[in-house]
Amino acid sequence: MEHFPVNLERYEGAYALIAKQAPTTAVIFVHGFDGNPRTTWVDFEGMIEKVGSQRTQWSETDLFFYSYNSLDQIPVLAETFLEFLTSVATLGASIFTPSDSSVRSLGGGFSLGAPIDFSRYRGRNPYKNLILVGHSTGAVIIRDALRMRVASIVQKNENLESWIKNRDEEDNHNRLIVRSSLRFFAPAHLGVLAAGKLGVALHLPVVDRVFGCYLGSNPLYQNLRHDSPTIRDLRKATEQLYDQHKLEALKASSLFGQHEEIVFLGGYTHDYPTQTEPGHYHQSICKPGVTFPQPLNFVMHVSSVSMNA
């Protein structure tokens, strides 16, 4: 077992799988609309135990499974996610302090043996690499959070090149964030198809078609239509920022199922070429398995390419 679970108490439903070895990389997973981290990324941690060639990379990687309630609009969700992202980028291991120490208890004073000492055997160095992985709406939340952060950095620093080369510790987390690699599964960054179209997506299991109708009845989901201001403005702002600054965190790799039925296929003008997987659809594309290791390869292989770039 390469990783063990840790609570992230400030973020309800979120948790992390922490590497036993000193980590170099943090991967943050963000689920889609009305989803949850446990079912969306159900077999990621299991597959990590099974992969051969990438095992070393994954064993030096902490996995954060972010969670949010789909009750607010994208900018609000993105702001909260940005706070989480900053915590990971800034503090490294300290983000899991709540369960790193003694356990809360009803009567008080109850603790479970010696608390785990992260610094003793894996250090407290900040991460060297960040990989942000989003499924569906999760990708939109990530992109909006990065747009906000990059815009704020640009506003504060007239000369971005010199800021990037600067080594002052105070802003190192932001330098890490703007170098993030983006790996999206079926991202909704070009918007969702009309929800009712699911009803006639005959290749899909009926359970998924009905679930799509359920999602489509939520007005917040309709804010993700391709012509909504949220989707339109985010694309425009991100493309402008990339055009001016060429930051890696604004450029995404996207993987879709061949039978994608929820969102429009494709990416922003400057993104890496979109990839598709035969036989897969919106819900299945982000779930690796023994016969489908591609999601795992997509996250780690492509990220290693861009890290070296």
């Binding site: 609570n7 941690e45 299991g46 055997y121 009712g196 359970v207 359920y214 819900q283």
Partner: protein, 302 residues
């Protein structure tokens, strides 16, 4: 250094136990302290004891600290055990192997966590801890799902008249936490159980996915491991007890009204045959329910 390695190993096991305690045991204890014990809370406490038991067997949880949890909260666990029996749920919620473990462990005649072991003559395989962790994480997420929990609580413990009021009149049940209210559009008869129903189906699909993947990854599972994986499923099956007609029919009823509501909302534009779509949905749902005890042949209520 060996000392460091031993420290790390113990610390990691302690961290796993801390995670489990905070995420799974403490919330139920807090609810019981605040609102008093209900049958459903008792079922959850018993389930958490069983997860502890299974985790200790494979050395995923450290035995000494796991025992400490039990000693510190033994009164609450014992009350839960008694409540499940007096509520008439012990035989229906827990399978014979689980009942044997509970009977033996709560009788106090042997050391805690020594009963019902699967590996008696050999050590558990080295990768079983990773498998256990995967199933545990998924089950924990389901147990604390704020949408699914209220539906399952009513499904498992409400009287027939209360259930009918929930389904037909959209009534809330006193003592059952309300799920988050979601905005809806174009849905003629929204019901608070809908979101919990879809969250449950999401879990059932994820469980099937994981289970299938494990079996593909380990095509020749040793019999002990097969039994162990089966007991992990049976440990949580009391929530989705579809071997019994009452629970099975209630879930199908909730599924049918949810499917009708949302398919109907789109029927005028995109869904051509509402009735056929709903019937096919129920067929697929029944197939998913077979993982949780529903008979493979067509069941009542379908």
């Amino acid at each position: 250094m060996p000392d460091d390695a031993a420290h790390s190993d113990l610390s990691v096991k302690g961290a796993c136990l801390t995670f489990f305690f905070q995420e799974r045991v403490l919330p139920v204890l807090e609810r019981v302290e605040k609102h008093g014990s209900h049958d459903f809370d008792s079922g959850e406490l018993i389930e958490s004891f069983l997860w502890l038991h299974h985790g200790v067997e494979i050395d995923y949880f450290p035995i000494a600290d796991s025992r400490r949890i039990m000693y510190d909260y033994f009164r609450e666990f014992l009350r839960a055990r008694v409540a499940v029996s007096s509520g008439g749920h012990f035989e229906t919620w827990f399978t014979p192997p689980l009942r044997a473990i509970l009977d033996s462990e709560f009788a106090g005649r042997a050391e805690l966590f020594s009963a019902g072991r699967f590996w008696t003559t050999s050590r558990p395989p080295s990768d079983v801890d990773a498998l256990f962790q995967q199933f545990l994480l998924l089950a924990n997420g389901f147990a604390q799902n704020r949408k699914a929990r209220p539906l399952l609580q009513v499904l498992a413990t409400a009287s027939d008249s209360t259930w009918q009021n929930v389904i037909e009149e959209n009534e809330f049940v006193p003592g059952v936490e309300r799920p988050p209210i979601e905005p809806l559009r174009d849905v003629a008869s929204p019901n608070w159980t809908h979101s919990g129903f879809f969250a449950t189906v999401d879990y059932m699909k994820a469980f099937r996915w994981l289970n299938l993947d494990v079996r593909q990854g380990f095509p020749h599972l040793a019999s002990e491991l097969q039994q162990y994986l089966r007991i992990l499923k049976e440990t949580q099956q009391w929530r989705l007890n579809f071997g019994y007609p009452r629970e099975r029919n209630r879930f199908l009823q909730a599924g049918r009204i949810a499917a009708e509501a949302y398919v109907e909302a789109f029927s005028k534009t995109e869904v051509s045959d509402t009735k056929a779509t709903v019937n096919n949905f129920i067929k697929e749902l029944l197939e998913l329910m077979t993982d949780w005890g529903a008979p493979i042949v067509k069941a009542a209520g379908a």
